[in-house]
Structures are given as C-alpha cells and as structure tokens.
C-alpha cells in the first residue's frame, strides 16, 4: 500500500485497468434491488463512471465504475416533500456487510410502521465517496467536478438529515461519531447531541475521534485527554476532506454524520439489534422534526461527545493572532509615512514594478504548483521510473522547492538595488494579504486558518532583510506550509496513538499530498487550491523580503 512500493507493478495494474476499462468490483446490485423490492420499497439504481486524474494508490483505483442502489420508503399520506437518508457504503474488499444487512433489516422494520412523515431513502453506495458524490449530484442535478452519472429516477423531496453507517467488523464494542465534512464543514450540533442522548439511553459506548469520554475533568490527565480529542478534531477539520460518507451532504445544507462501529477488543460488546434500536430512535426523532435542525451551533469543537467549545470561545484566540499582523502593518505604514523623502532624486518611492514583480512571480509559481503536477504526469512517467501518483506528488514537491530560488529570479528581472522602502512596501502588502487570507479561511474553516496562522504569523511579523540570513532562512523553511503539513501528519499519528517512524511518516506525508490533490479533483475540496494558489505565494513574498537586496 505504500506509495513508493514497487512502481512497476503498480503501473502495470493501472494500465491493465485502463485498457480493460472495467473495474473488478462486485456489489450485488441485482440481489440488492430484489431484496429491497421484496421489503416494499421503491427501488432505483444509478450508474456512474469516474476517471481519476491519477491513480489513487491508497484505495487502488483509477477508472471507477459502479452502481448505487437506493430504495425509497414512501411515508404514508406524505406529499414527497421531505426525506431522510440512511446510507451504507458497500464495495469489494471493505467488509461493510454488517451495515448493509442492518440497513435492509431496518428498511423492513420501518416499512411496517405507520408513523413516518418523511420519506426514508435507504442508499447503498459503491466506491464510498465517489458513489456518494455521484448520487448527491444526481439527486440535486448539479455537476461540480465533472463526474459522469446517470440521472436519478426517483426522489423524495428535500433531504432533511442523513446518517451513514459503517460497521467494518463483526464484533462492535463501541460506536464512533464522525462529524468532519468537506472543507471542514460540520453538521448541526443537535445531531451530535441526538446521537449522544440515544447512546446514553440505550447504553451503548460512544466515542468521538475514537476516544471515550472521561469524567475527571479537573485532573491533568483528564484535561489532556480532552485536549487531545479536540486537537484531533482540529487536525481533521483542517484537512478539509470528508472523513466519512456523510461529508458530502453538508454542501447541500443537509445535516449528516457517520456512525462507525469500532472493535477495540474490549469486554463490552454491542449487538446489531442494539444499533438498530439506536438508529430507529434517531430516525423517529428526525422524522418528528417540523423544521430543519437549525437551533443549535454549526461552529464548534468537541473535546468530548457531551461538551463543546463554541465559536465565541475559540475565535478570540485566532483574533489575537490576526491582530499581530494588523499592528505590524500599521507600524510599517507609520514608518513609511514618517521616513523622510531622503535623497530627492527621481523615483524616491519604490516603483510599482519593484512591488508588482515579486507578487506576480510568486503567484505564477503558485499557479504552476496548482496545475503542473497533474499536467506533467505523463511526461514524468515516461522519463523517470515512477508511477503516475508518485510523479504528481514529486512534481508538486519539486515545484514547491524550486520556489525557494525565486528571489534570485526576481532580482534578475529588477534593475538596480532594492531600496529600504521597497521591502517595507512589499511587506506591508504581504502582511495585509496574509491577514485577509487567514481571516477568510478561519471564517470558513477555523482549524485550517488557526494552524496556518500559528505557523505563518511569527515569520510574517519578524521577517526583515536585516535579520541573520541563514538562521532566518532555516526558520522560514521549517515554518513553511509544506513543513507544517509534515508536522501535522506526525502529530496526528501521535494523537491517534499510532506513532510512526520517520520513514513511514514521510510516506504518509506523500500520500497525504496525493489525497489532497485527489480530494480537490473529485469532491471539490478547497484546501489544495487555497494552499497552492494563495498561501504558498504569500509565503514566497515573505521569503522574497528576507533575500531583499
């Protein structure tokens, strides 16, 4: 599964798949259709094909072809205006059979109940997120990422809430709630509260981020446990990727969460009936809702399943960081205004060109970082012994590193010496740019904005051409967005209690980059373009200031 393991074999497999143009998948579509029909549902299928920009080595797929099967339980005497969704991913290899079985069982049970006021859609999606993306785009008749899917035949009106069920093991000891969705969006907190309340009522162990809740809040270990749980949430949210099949629902303003059965080899076992009761309870509650979930929070961080940190508490922390940038900018502005015109010869103020050139060149580098890896994969594969995926990731890293030579190139374009005022103006621009950028990011995805602010604000605040070059350069490289990503990978593994060696960490780092690019291409995640097109050029501007002549 490693990214660099046996490129030749990988390439051969990819070629084979491409030529055959047929996946090795095996979801029992006909059986599912027949079973759902016999349970009294209206059953429809949707087929989809998707060609990934480059092979996904984590999940071993390139040309994806699959079928979604969904059955609609029509609520009696309801006009098809509202619906709830229960989904279970089903693919070859990932053994989610338990969840599909439970879904079918629940469908049969729900069918004989008279009290449903909303249609309930039971969805079995193939190829997890790709299938879910196809289904959701089909349902809402949009096409944001250029997938190819067949139109849906049956609908149930506007979807009010959705749950995705993943039971990968035969023995379930606890249920984990996954909330983080695409671009760090979160469902309404009431959905989490609902889950927690029912777990308490039925007596199921429930976790968030795979961590149990502890009651010793006031002790150090209890506090650090909660802090670790919250850090995990911050890192997951910052990644901007959907951490479960529910993640794609959030774009459509549908409150959704994934429930994942975990086998952690404890004594405590939960049988499927109990999970069924839990789901029945949750669906009956959701069914009784007159309005969409809207009363509670949409912005929160959870140190445990029953506690949350609201936006009012965490936003000031970010605000204080951002204020540094603004104060620095104000300071520079005052300095620029106060400094005497100096020698009264010709262009006393730095020319527009001297500011514009680095800005434009940095952004060109950003555009190259965004577009070239995927465009140049074929060429790279022909000339180097690497697979497509490696080609993409390594090209990205190469362009990223090449950006470090930028000040040299800039100076070649600029004639004459850079003035003292020149770098001040450039820094003012960079500071304001960074402040706006981080502010907007934090509003959309707090965690990402906060992590970027933590690493970028110190260097943005202190960097000048007069600091010791070697030391500053080392610090800047260590705090660059790429390195921050590397640290995040290690911290994440550490927090998950699966520490990795340096070698494995590096592998993971490479695969995280490829996943980020794929997430952007497949689901429209914005983290990769944000980093490549905006954050990285901004960092390059600061790098430029350090090497100002």
């Amino acid at each position: 599964m490693g990214l660099l393991s046996d490129p030749n074999r990988r390439r051969a497999l990819t070629k084979l798949l491409t030529r055959l143009n047929a996946p090795i998948c095996g979801m029992p579509v006909d059986w599912l259709v027949k079973t759902m029909q016999s349970r009294g549902l209206e059953v429809f299928t949707q087929s989809f094909t998707r060609k990934l920009p480059f092979p996904d080595e984590n999940k071993e797929r390139y040309m994806v072809r699959g079928t979604n099967v969904y059955g609609i339980l029509r609520a009696p005497r309801a006009p098809r205006t509202e619906a709830l969704v229960l989904s279970a991913p089903c693919s070859e290899g990932n053994n989610n059979n338990q969840a599909v079985g439970l879904l079918l069982g629940l469908a049969q049970y729900f069918r004989s109940q008279i009290h449903w006021a909303k249609d309930i859609i039971f969805l079995v999606n193939e190829h997890d997120l790709i299938g879910m993306q196809a289904w959701l785009e089909g349902y809402h008749h949009t096409n944001t990422t250029g997938g190819d899917w067949s139109p849906l035949q049956g609908r149930g009106g506007s979807i009010q809430a959705a749950l995705s069920l993943e039971l990968s093991s035969d023995v379930i000891t606890s249920l984990d709630l996954v909330l983080e969705g695409l671009n760090g969006q979160l469902p309404n907190l009431d959905l989490a509260n609902l889950f927690y309340a029912f777990c308490q009522k039925i007596g199921v162990l429930c976790t968030i981020q795979g961590k149990l809740q502890r009651n010793d809040w006031d002790t150090t270990s209890g506090y650090s446990h909660a802090a670790q749980t919250m850090m995990l949430m911050v890192l997951k949210q910052a990644s901007g990727r959907p951490w479960g099949d529910h993640g794609l629902f959030l774009r459509y303003h549908i409150e959704a969460a994934s429930i994942r059965g975990i086998n952690s080899f404890r004594q405590y076992k939960t049988d499927t009936t109990t999970i069924g009761r839990l789901l029945e309870g949750m669906y009956r509650k959701l069914n009784n809702l007159l309005e969409r979930l809207h009363q509670s929070y949409f912005f929160y961080l959870m140190p445990s399943l029953s506690r949350f940190v609201s936006i009012g508490y965490y936003m000031p922390a970010f605000g204080l960081l951002a204020v540094i940038l603004l104060l620095r900018a104000l300071d520079l502005w005052v300095q620029l205004g106060a400094s005497p015109p100096g020698t009264e010869d010709g262009p006393s103020s730095p020319g527009v060109l001297s500011i514009l050139t680095p800005v434009v060149i940095s952004h060109m580098t950003g555009v190259a970082l965004y577009t070239l890896p995927i465009l140049s994969q074929e060429m790279a594969v022909q000339h180097f012994p690497v697979s497509e995926t490696e080609a993409v990731v390594l090209t990205a890293i190469a362009i990223y590193t090449a950006g470090l030579a930028l000040p040299h190139n800039t100076h070649r374009l600029l004639q004459g010496e850079g003035t003292e005022e020149g770098w001040r103006v450039l820094k003012l621009v960079a500071l304001l740019y960074l402040a706006v950028l981080l502010g907007c990011t934090a509003l959309i995805n707090f965690s990402l904005g906060f992590i970027l602010a933590l690493s970028l604000v110190p260097i943005a605040a202190f960097i000048t051409p007069h600091t010791p070059k070697a030391l500053s350069a080392a610090i800047m490289v260590l705090l660059s967005p790429g390195c921050t990503l590397l640290y995040c990978v290690f911290v994440f593994q550490e927090l998950q209690e699966t520490p990795v060696s340096l070698q494995d960490g590096w592998m993971l780092f490479l695969s995280v980059i490829s996943q980020g690019i794929l997430d952007h291409a497949l689901y429209g995640s914005l983290v990769y373009p944000l980093l490549a097109l905006l954050i990285y050029p901004c960092w390059l501007l600061l790098w430029n200031i350090l090497f100002w002549k």
Binding site: Q37, G40, E42, R74, P76, R77, A78, P79, R80, T81, E82, R111, S112, Q113, I114, H140, H141, T142, R155, G157, S158, R251, Y252, H253, L290, E291, R292, H294, Q295
Partner: protein, 550 residues
C-alpha cells in the same frame, strides 16, 4: 324528473398488493336557481351548499382535499386525480360582475363549511389559467375572467374535514356505503383524497334541459405492509372495520364494483362471495371488467345479512408500472441564492406523440428567470407551440406559466427554469421558516391516445367512476396528472436572538414593571370588617342611650 341520488364503491386490487377503494356519490338537483327565483325547497341536495352556490352564482365548483401523493408508478392512474393539499377551482356565471370579490367571499364561506384553511386563499396564490381548466359541465363559457384556481399544498386533511363532507350526503353516514367511512381506518392508509364537484349536466339523453350534479368522491389506498400486516388478503372488514348491510334508502342505485379485468379465471386472486353480475366499462382508455354487487337487491347480502367481500391473492408480483403519462418535479442546485425547477414529463406510449398542457404556479418569492426556460426532449430543443406567461408581482400575485408541449413517443421531456430566492420581510416569514416554503404541484393536462374506442355518448347509463371527464372523440381520453409539490428553503435570518430578546423583555416588563407599577399606584387602607347584626342593634341602642359605641 326531480332529484336523484346514486352511490357507488369501486375496489381495485393493485399489483403492489395494496388496495384502492373509491367512493362515488352523485346527487342530481333539478332546480333553476339562476332565474332569480329564490330556491327554498331542498330534497336530497344539501341545503348548506345549495345556498352558497346560488348566492355566489357559481357555475362549476371543484374542491379536493388530499393527504398524500398518488404513486402513479405503483398504482396506475386514479379515477379522479388531485394534488396534495387542498385544491379549489370555480367557474362563476357570466352575470357576476365582481369576480374577485365573489371569489374571496366564497373561499371564506367554504372554509367554514369544510373546516379547512381555505380562507388562506388570496391574490398571492390565485391564478386564472387560460387553457388548463376548462369547464367540465355543459355550456361553453371559455372566458377565463370567470375562472379562479388556487392550491394550498400545505393543507393537512383530517377528520374535521371528513365530517362536514359526510354531512352533505342525503343519508349522512347512517346508511348505505357511507357507513364504511370510519375516520380511524380511512386515515390509516397510504393515500386519502376527498373531493366535491358541482357542475351542470344534461337531464336526459335528449339534453333539452340541464340539472345540477353534485359529485362527491373519496379515494383511499390501503397499504399492504402497514394496514394489511403484509398479508395479501383484503376484505371490507379489514379495510374499513365495517361490513355493508343495506343500501341508502334514498339512493336510486347503490353498487359495489370490484375490478377483475386481470383476473378472468381467478388465477390472480380469489374473490368471495362471487357474483354473477359483470359489467364492462371503458375507463382511462382501457376496457375493464367489474364484478358488480347490487346493494338494492337483498340477495346480495345472503344469509348473514351483511356483505363482506374477501379478496385473496394467489400470485405475488410486483413490477413498477409504466403509465402512459406521468410527471415528476424537483428543485436542483444548492445554496440559498438560486435554484432550478425541473419538471419531467414521461410519455411511455411506444409510437404516438401527444400534446400536453403544463400549468405551473410559482409563488412570487421565487423569482423566475423566464429567459432560462428550456424544454428538451430526447436531447433536442422542443419548442412549445403555446406559451402563456404572467409574471408575478411582489406580494400580489404568483407566476403563472402555461405551455402546450408536444411529447414525442417513448420519451422524457424536461422543462427547466432557474429562479432566485427572495429575501422576505421579517414579518412575512411563517412561524416555522426553517421548514421551507411550499410550491404547489404543476398540472399536466393531456388528451392521451386510447387503446380502445372511447364512449362519446355521455348520456348513456354507465358507472359513475367512468363518466366524469366528458369525452369528445373516440381515439383519445382526457387525463390530468399532478406532480409533487416542492419544498424550498428561503434565506432565513436567525430568529432565535430576536425571539429570545422579545420573550425576555416581555417577561421583565410584565413581572418587574407590572408589579412595581401596581405597588406604586395602589392606595392601601385597612378595611374594617362589617359588624354583625347583633352588634349593629347594640350600637343603635347605645347611640340612643348616649353611651360610646362598641
């Protein structure tokens, strides 16, 4: 000829295992309320309705209350279609001068009669369709000035609507078929629709004079899994928890029909008790065979003096049907700024194209971009041959769009239109704004090619359920299909903060200020208890004697 009353119950076993029961009641009213003579004598016709109709000079009145959506793909076509919620359309006499005023008063009166929120019909949801709703009765008034049409998609139908509807029947729910209408069973179903149609029809086959027909229909579908406990076995008792014991004594005919078309030899289901009477009727472009139970004949009830038909399925098959015409509608897109309404119309006829009339009524708060209107069939642009569009006026009237579209054989025609969601004033939001706002069903009216020759002679004796829509030609029949209503979310401000502030302020004002004000303005004085009779006498005596009082 005088007044006349007929009642009918049609039972159609559906392939999905569900069962469809349709009640039809027809009251003929031989009167002439138009000539100005005040009608005060009522025999069978309900007086409450008759007075309203004569007061407002109504020519035709159609009102339906429906809970649920008719599943065409599973159940086929209903005898009488109706949209979810309440629908009301009225043709006024051409003598009416102030149609809008009469319409407003009429909706309020009907709202009282049927215990429904018809009083919410106002100019923002009333339209005058130019072609979709032609009069169904006699007369050729086609000036749409006298037509009003409104739908309330959110109206919830329940027992309080059923009771006044039942009271309009001559026998009430005391005798005849209406004894089966027990609300606890009727509302334990997949679909429930009750309707009332009032129109002028011919008196006899010569059609020299007209009488007024009041037709009351009630359609209900019982579900195999929830009402039938999953068993493919139905009886009158299981459906209605009642059996039939007599016909309505006032009825000139009282019959129960069971559709046995697909079951000539009894291979599909078993029907007991058997009846020798068979009847054929052309319904919805198809010749159907029915077993008939005549309730006016005592032999029908047999030894037990009660009729409880039993239908037991032998074979289980469930395939989705391919109805000739059906429609679908949904909102596409995401976000709260814009959206797109998609209407799909399926023509499943293998080789015949036919035209349909599409009527769309969209509330003003969805601002339609009419330039984005596209009609495509089979991937090609399909130009409507007639478009009638009336733009909305904010807070005054809705959008009205009518189109005549030719549906090619075996095709799906898609009508799309983009819209922008308006930001309402804060007082215009409903109490539950996050539920969303309803857009009524669009109406597809069509002349569908018929498989068998239709019966154009409207005066011949035929079952009630087959004779509602008048038939002008033999080769096609009229059909109306309603799509599902839409639920659209509008940009909604967070009402919780103002709500809390208002609640808190009111409480503080009421409790704090109120009690303080009370304390400040009230004057306190010690009230002396009034002395008893003995004491008062004693005091009078003491006063006379001149000693101090007690």
């Amino acid at each position: 000829m005088g007044d006349q009353f007929q009642e009918e119950l049609v039972i159609r076993p559906l392939h999905s295992g569900d069962i469809y029961a349709s009640f039809q009641f027809r009251t003929m009213w031989d009167t002439d309320f138009l000539r100005g003579s005040k009608v005060s004598h009522y025999r069978l016709f309900p007086k409450s309705l008759g007075q309203v109709i004569s007061k407002f000079s109504v020519r035709e009145l159609h009102i339906s209350f429906t809970q649920g959506y008719w599943r065409t793909m599973q159940w086929g076509q209903p005898f009488l279609p109706s949209p979810p919620g309440a629908e009301l359309w009225v043709w006024f006499q051409d003598t009416v001068t102030d149609v809008d005023g009469a319409w407003k008063e009429l909706t309020n009166v009907l709202s009282g009669i049927f215990c429904a929120s018809l009083n919410f019909i106002d100019s923002t949801n009333t339209v005058q369709p130019s072609a979709s709703f032609k009069p169904l009765g006699l007369g050729n008034v086609t000036d749409q000035r006298f037509l009003r049409y409104a739908v309330l998609p959110r109206e919830i139908v329940c027992t309080e609507n059923l009771t006044p509807w039942k009271k309009l029947l001559p026998c009430g729910s005391k005798a005849g078929l209406a004894v089966l209408m027990k609300s606890e069973k009727l509302f334990h179903s997949s679909f429930h629709s009750q309707a009332l149609h009032f129109r002028p029809v011919c008196q006899d086959w010569k059609c020299k004079s007209t009488v007024w027909e009041l037709r009351q229909t009630l359609n209900v579908v019982f579900d195999l899994h929830t009402s039938g406990q999953g068993k493919r076995e139905w009886s009158l008792f299981k459906m209605f928890s009642r059996t039939l014991t007599e016909a309505c004594p006032l009825a000139s005919s009282s019959k129960v029909y069971v559709d046995v078309t697909d079951n000539p030899q009894g291979e599909l289901f078993e029907l007991s008790p058997t009846t020798p009477l068979l009847s054929q009727a052309v319904v919805l472009g198809d010749r159907r065979t029915y077993s008939v139970y005549d309730l006016t004949n005592q032999a029908t009830f047999g030894q037990t003096r009660s009729l409880n038909m039993l239908l037991r399925w032998r074979a289980a098959e469930r395939d989705m049907l391919r109805p000739l015409l059906h429609g679908e509608r949904y909102v596409a897109g995401y976000g709260l700024q814009t959206g797109e309404i998609h209407t799909l119309m399926y023509n499943n006829h293998p080789y015949r194209a036919f035209p349909v009339l599409l009527l769309d009524t969209v509330p003003w708060y969805l601002r339609l971009y009419i330039h984005t209107l596209t009609v495509t069939s089979k991937g090609r642009d399909n130009k409507p041959s007639y478009i009638h569009y009336q733009p909305s006026k904010d807070r005054l009237r809705p959008h009205l769009l009518e189109m005549l579209v030719q549906l090619p054989p075996n095709s799906v025609t898609e009508v799309t239109m983009q819209f922008e969601r308006a930001l309402l004033k804060w007082t215009e939001y409903t109490p539950d704004p996050n539920h969303g706002f309803y857009v009524g069903s669009s109406v597809i009216s069509a002349l569908v090619p018929s498989v068998v020759a239709m019966d154009t002679n409207s005066t011949r004796e035929c079952p009630l359920f087959s004779s509602f829509f008048p038939c002008k030609e033999e080769s096609s029949y009229f059909m109306r299909v309603y799509t599902e209503p839409l639920l659209v979310n509008l940009p909604t401000p967070d009402f919780s903060m103002p709500y809390n502030v208002i609640c808190l302020t009111c409480t503080v004002v009421a409790v704090g200020y109120g009690s303080l004000y009370n304390l400040l303005t009230r004057t306190f004085q010690v009230e002396e208890p009034s002395p008893g009779l003995a004491k008062r006498l004693a005091n009078i005596i003491r006063r006379l004697r001149g000693v101090p009082l007690l």
